[in-house]
């Protein structure tokens, strides 16, 4: 069983339109200014506080093809590039709990060998570029996200290498050393709390139709991976300045061999808030007034809820129709409509609440499936009635 089937894997399904300029882009900031290189990320706003973009072409680095290459732009300036070289979720795809032992036994040894080879090749390649073995630094020093990384100084750029045994190999290239050694964005590292609050609140967009929507929330597509919870967490936390990725959270949660079996995602949510220096309120049902306060402060809310393909179609179709007909309305949340809502027997799913419309009594939410699933709408009664957990980060 799967979510509405109109998504894409993060990079592998995209046509390769250009080749990533390796190794120059790993050691020369001048390459980051080249028009041809910047064009590979698509159109970027010069005024948006922050945008996340995937590179449109192939990237072969240190003998391995990257699974994804993603950049952060701050007010139009490229500030960081993250290469995911190997991710167990992407390699195995979605594995149902019932199959996890069989898959681990049959495909596990092959993945282990690939992990060791990739980790070795990437570390050697970075050491060669830097002319040193790298420096070990605790990126996060406690909790489920506790992680040491290797820092390399390559030319006039900095690189942070993250490896998680049998799960993840990725590295992030930055312009500055503080960006490499800290998991927090410059704003979150250095600004006063009031300034941070103002920066968050400045991203609330009040539309003429009464929508209050957060602008610029990044979407990280989960692909055919059991990653909705961790992808949603990454979208939330990157928006709030914690520079960790979906794959970091998946590895920390113990999502192994493509399965969430025995994983501990809740500990990772708490650890992410801690690493982001945020407080994290939690309720066992979505509470609109709490969500409204969070959105007003410029902070998205993570909701875990019951999900059915049938009901998801309605929300996806309505979002499409609403674009053409702003007077369109969702079904009233009457007794008949409630019978169509997903129940406890339905699938579990995680979504990011990115806005609301009080007059229409609608919650606006975004899925980790791609731009087509940004700012969908649901009556707040349904969000409350089908949710079983919600997280409200705050400063």
């Amino acid at each position: 069983m799967a979510c509405a089937a109109h998504g894409q894997l993060q990079l592998s399904l995209r046509p390769a339109t250009r080749t990533f300029p390796i190794p120059d882009a790993l050691k020369s900031a001048a390459t980051w200014e080249a028009a041809d290189f910047v064009a590979g990320w698509g159109a970027v706003s010069a005024t948006a506080p922050e945008e996340h973009r995937n590179y449109s072409g192939k990237c072969l680095v240190f003998g391995h093809e990257a699974y994804s290459v993603r950049a952060v732009f701050e007010r139009g300036k490229l500030t960081a590039i993250t290469f995911v070289m190997l991710d167990s979720g992407a390699w195995f795809g979605f594995v149902p709990d019932a199959d996890v032992k069989r898959v681990a036994a049959t495909k596990g040894p092959q993945f282990t060998a690939l992990y060791q080879q990739t980790a070795t090749d990437v570390e050697r390649g970075l050491a060669s570029l830097a002319g040193s073995a790298g420096r070990k630094v605790p990126l996060v020093d406690k909790g489920a996200l506790k992680q040491d990384v290797l820092i390399f100084h390559t030319g006039d750029l900095w690189v942070r290498l993250t490896t998680r045994e049998n799960q993840l190999v990725k590295f992030t290239v930055t312009r500055t050393e503080p960006d490499a050694v800290s998991p927090l964005s410059a704003l979150r590292r250095s600004a006063k709390k009031d300034d941070q609050a103002r920066a968050f609140a400045s991203r609330v967009n009040n539309a003429p139709n009464g929508d209050r929507v957060l602008d610029g929330v990044p979407i990280f597509t989960q692909g055919d991976r059991a990653y909705c919870g961790v992808a949603t967490l990454a979208m939330e936390m990157q928006f709030l300045g914690l520079r960790l990725d979906t794959e970091d959270y998946a590895a920390a949660a113990g999502i192994k061999f493509g399965s969430t079996y025995h994983s501990d995602i809740r500990a990772v949510f708490e650890a992410a808030a801690d690493a982001a220096k945020l407080k994290l309120a939690r309720t066992t049902q979505f509470e609109f007034e709490k969500a409204r306060a969070a959105i007003d402060a410029g902070i998205p809310v993570i909701v875990f809820r019951r999900w059915s393909q049938e009901r998801d179609f309605l929300h996806g179709a309505f979002a499409e129709r609403f674009q053409k007909d702003p007077a369109a309305t969702l079904p009233k949340a009457d007794l008949n409509d409630r019978k169509s809502w997903p129940t406890k027997d339905s699938f579990s799913h995680s979504s990011l609440v990115t806005g609301y419309n009080l007059a229409r009594r609608e919650v606006i939410y975004t899925e980790s499936w791609g731009e087509h699933a940004r700012n969908r709408r649901m009556r707040l009664e349904e969000m409350e009635g089908t949710s079983y957990m919600a997280y409200y980060p705050h400063l």
């Binding site: 055919d224 501990d264 875990f304 309505f318 129709r321 129940t343």
Partner: protein, 168 residues
Amino acid sequence: MKTIRAAFAASLLLANLAHAVPQSVGNGFLGAVGIPFEKFAAAAGPWAQGAELKGPWKARAEKKGDVENFDLAVDAIVFGIPAAQVSAERVSGAVRRFTVRFDEAKMKNIKSSAGGLYAQVVANITALAGEPKASSPGGEKSFRYESSLITARKSGAKEVIVDFTPAK
């Protein structure tokens, strides 16, 4: 006892959080043709004289004059709901009708449609196409969507039939 209950509740929460849904890249009709069936059937293309019937279809043995009937040979999710059968009627080389049959008894996710399959089908068509253009006293509802007229009706206690015909 309280401690045991609290631990049990906590374990349920963790289990719920761990039970994630993947994002599929498509199978069945969507995987074969690249678009959902309702988008395919609502477009102008399939109704044109001589248009290719996209996807794997199997011709029925009987043929009456110029009328040919086909059954879709792969699964299809139509309006977000698994279809029990999808068929096409072609007359003199032009498709005249697609018929989708939903059968509550054959749906795996039956509990999500406990409110009534017909109500759910109609709600989902409405979400896509807007309010029905016509409703019959017998409960039949007709919608206009892109190049098609979509008509939904109950068929027996547990079945719903949806016809796509070219809009005039």
